[in-house]
């Protein structure tokens, strides 16, 4: 889990470093959405 988060964490930190305020939050949200969507889809697939 940590390893998984690490990759995402670095990506998000880079966004936070380069962007500010709402712009940064929106980009982070995009990335997080992408990530949780992948996780959820994997879980759903595993469950079915």
């Amino acid at each position: 889990m940590m390893v998984e988060y690490k990759e995402l964490e670095l990506k998000l930190l880079e966004i936070a470093r380069l962007l500010n305020g709402k712009e940064a939050r929106d980009r982070i949200k995009e990335e997080v959405e992408k990530y949780v969507s992948e996780v959820a889809n994997r879980k759903l697939e595993a469950e079915s």
Partner: protein, 619 residues
């Protein structure tokens, strides 16, 4: 520009930045660079331009008022980096970089640009001792905070999606249940419509009408039979009446033939007449004829005997004497005479017989007429008294029966007509009911079609299906919560770590600079700034003099720079105004920084008549 200068300096070109409208290029060599310019000629604008490209500064604070676009170009290490600023609408200004320079760091403004509006200096001036925001900015804690905020923003969004999804799921269930109900109702109505072809009441009525029609037909047949019988009886009556008329005619004829109807006298007369003639015949003609026959017989016998020779000729056969009279010739003559006499006698007898016969016949006729008249009278009496009245009674009876039948037929017809009306009403009612049901059916089918459309839309809305999407959202929320918790933890760790690093750096800088008057400066557990005077007295920024506040501020900035930016951003900016309060301390700080910062930039004011902005390597 020489190769050395390319690596040993950084150049800045600004256009429409702060107070600088026309493009201005400045070069900062390694070491000390002093920007010398009179007041309000663009010193701060140059620093703002530098800050915009190597740090984070709100673009609206940088672009020249009234200008649509501005830009800063940094030449560093043989590479150019541009940041463009452009106005969007009236208030908003956006920035766009081509490439981020390697010496970029968002913390630059906080810890390497010591202008009066610097956050740390401002906080101290305002007496704000809570340094959480500074710690966040210094470390990645701020970034983690941004990440946490973004993740936390996503959670309610997904919770809302889930709520909508649940609403949709409920709606979908409700619609599906409604569809089932509608389908059932439609089936029921369709069944009812099929059954509405003939109701039990209509069937009963139809059967009853059919039965009545049979009965009516039977009654009509019976009536027809009676009418036929009546016709026959009437015909018979007519025959009887005709017969009566004929009988009466015959009676009249006979009465006219026999006036007074004295049949006995007439009969007696015929009887006497017949008896008289019979007497005459028995006394006259018959004896005469007998005598003549006998004589003729005797003569014929004598003749035969003579011929056979049994008698002598000339002798009388009767007297056995010679009798002239009965001589041969005589006998023949006599025989001839006899024949004539017989003929006459016979004629007379025949005449009498004929007369008797005629009289008898007449007498028989009278008798017959008498019998006939009696018969006719009897017949007339029977006809008048028995047969015709009987027949008339029968006719009357039959006529009554026919009337009864007619009434029965009418009754049946009325009954049929009434039932047919009822049936018609039933049919009309049924038709109305059918139409009503068909209308309802149409409405229900429309409703069903709408609901099926809605259901389909809902199904389409969720590619994976409502339940799977719900599960998906739950997993997403769960993951987002985990992520938020993870980044919150990272934030705390970062902030705590940053505080530790920062405090250590403060201690080092403090030791190196060795400012008198203070024993310790640090950020405590609650992220609050603590300042201790020599002797251990704790004080607050408000209690410090302006000079002391600036000193503490610069110690904090330099500590932060050493801890976080030293290897990343080779620039530190000092505003002379900031340090003009204490030239000795200013010099100490400049010297300290000059040893540690590759590009130390100081802004200083020169008299207004100098006008130009100059960058020199000495104060």
């Amino acid at each position: 520009m020489s190769a050395k200068s390319q690596t040993e300096s950084l150049k800045l070109r600004v256009e429409n930045i702060g107070g600088i409208r026309t493009p201005l290029e400045v070069e900062f060599r390694k070491g000390l660079s002093v920007i010398k310019a009179p007041n309000a000629t663009g010193k701060t604008s140059i620093i703002k331009g530098l800050e915009a490209i190597v740090g984070n500064v709100p673009p609206e604070d940088v672009l020249t008022d009234g200008e649509k676009e501005g830009k800063v170009i940094l030449s560093y290490d043989g590479q150019e980096y541009t940041i463009k600023l452009y106005r969007v609408g009236i208030e908003s200004v956006k920035s766009e970089r081509d490439t981020t320079p390697p010496i970029y760091d968002p913390r630059t403004s906080l810890i390497a640009i010591a202008l009066p509006e610097n956050k740390i200096l401002r906080k101290l001036n305002e007496g704000d001792i809570v340094f959480s925001d500074v710690l966040e900015e210094l470390s990645n804690a701020e970034k983690y905070l941004t990440i946490v905020e973004a993740v936390r923003e996503l959670i309610p969004e997904h919770k809302n999606r889930l709520r909508l999804l649940e609403l949709d799921a409920k709606e979908s269930e409700r619609i599906k249940a409604q569809i089932e109900v509608l389908k059932e109702r439609i089936q029921t109505i369709e069944r009812e419509l099929q059954e509405l072809v003939e109701s039990p009441e209509q069937k009963e009525l139809s059967d009853r009408i059919a039965q009545l029609k049979n009965e009516l037909q039977k009654k009509k047949s019976e009536k027809k039979e009676l009418e036929k019988d009546l016709e026959e009886k009437k015909s018979l009556l007519r025959e009887k009446e005709a017969e009566l008329k004929k009988v009466r005619g015959e009676i009249t004829d006979l009465e006219q033939k026999y006036p007074g109807l004295d049949f006995d006298s007439k009969d007696s007369w015929y009887k006497s007449q017949i008896e008289a003639l019979e007497e005459k015949r028995s006394k006259e003609t018959e004896p005469l004829l007998k005598k003549l026959y006998n004589e003729r017989e005797a003569i014929i016998e004598q003749i035969k005997k003579l011929e056979r020779g049994e008698l002598e000729r000339g002798k009388c056969p009767f007297c056995a004497e010679t009798c002239p009279k009965y001589s041969d010739n005589l006998m023949q003559i006599r025989l001839n005479e006899l024949e004539e006499e017989i003929q006459d006698a016979k004629a007379k007898d025949d005449e009498i017989t004929k007369k008797i016969r005629e009289l008898k016949a007449e007498r028989d006729d009278v008798k017959r007429d008498r019998e006939r008249l009696r018969g006719l009278k009897n017949r007339e009496r029977r006809l008048v008294e028995e047969e015709i009245p009987e027949l008339k009674r029968e006719i009357s009876k039959v006529e009554k029966e026919i009337e009864n039948k007619e009434r029965e037929v009418e009754k049946k017809q009325d009954e049929i007509s009434e039932l047919e009306k009822k049936l018609e009403i039933e049919k009309v009612e049924m038709q109305k009911e059918r139409e009503r049901k068909e209308r309802t059916l149409d409405q229900l089918r429309d409703e069903l079609s709408d609901l099926e459309g809605q259901s389909k839309d809902l199904d389409k809305k969720y590619e994976k299906g409502v339940e799977k999407t719900k599960r998906y959202e739950l997993v997403v929320i769960e993951e987002l919560t985990k992520l938020a918790e993870y980044f919150e933890e990272r934030y705390t760790t970062e902030k705590t770590g940053a505080k530790k690093v920062f405090n250590e750096s403060i201690r080092r800088v403090f030791e190196r600079l060795g400012f008198g008057g203070f024993s310790k400066i640090e950020i405590n557990k609650e992220d609050a700034l603590e300042i201790y005077r020599e002797g251990g007295t704790k004080t607050t920024p408000r209690k410090l003099s302006t000079s002391e506040r600036i000193t503490v501020g610069l110690i904090l900035m330099i500590s932060a720079y050493e801890a976080y930016l030293k290897d990343r951003v080779p620039i530190f900016v000092l505003d002379e105004v900031t340090l003009s309060y204490d030239p000795t301390r200013f010099k100490e700080i400049v010297n300290y920084l000059a040893e540690r910062v590759p590009y130390l930039i100081i802004t200083t004011v020169v008299p207004a008549e100098e006008r130009e902005i100059r960058v020199e390597d000495t104060l």
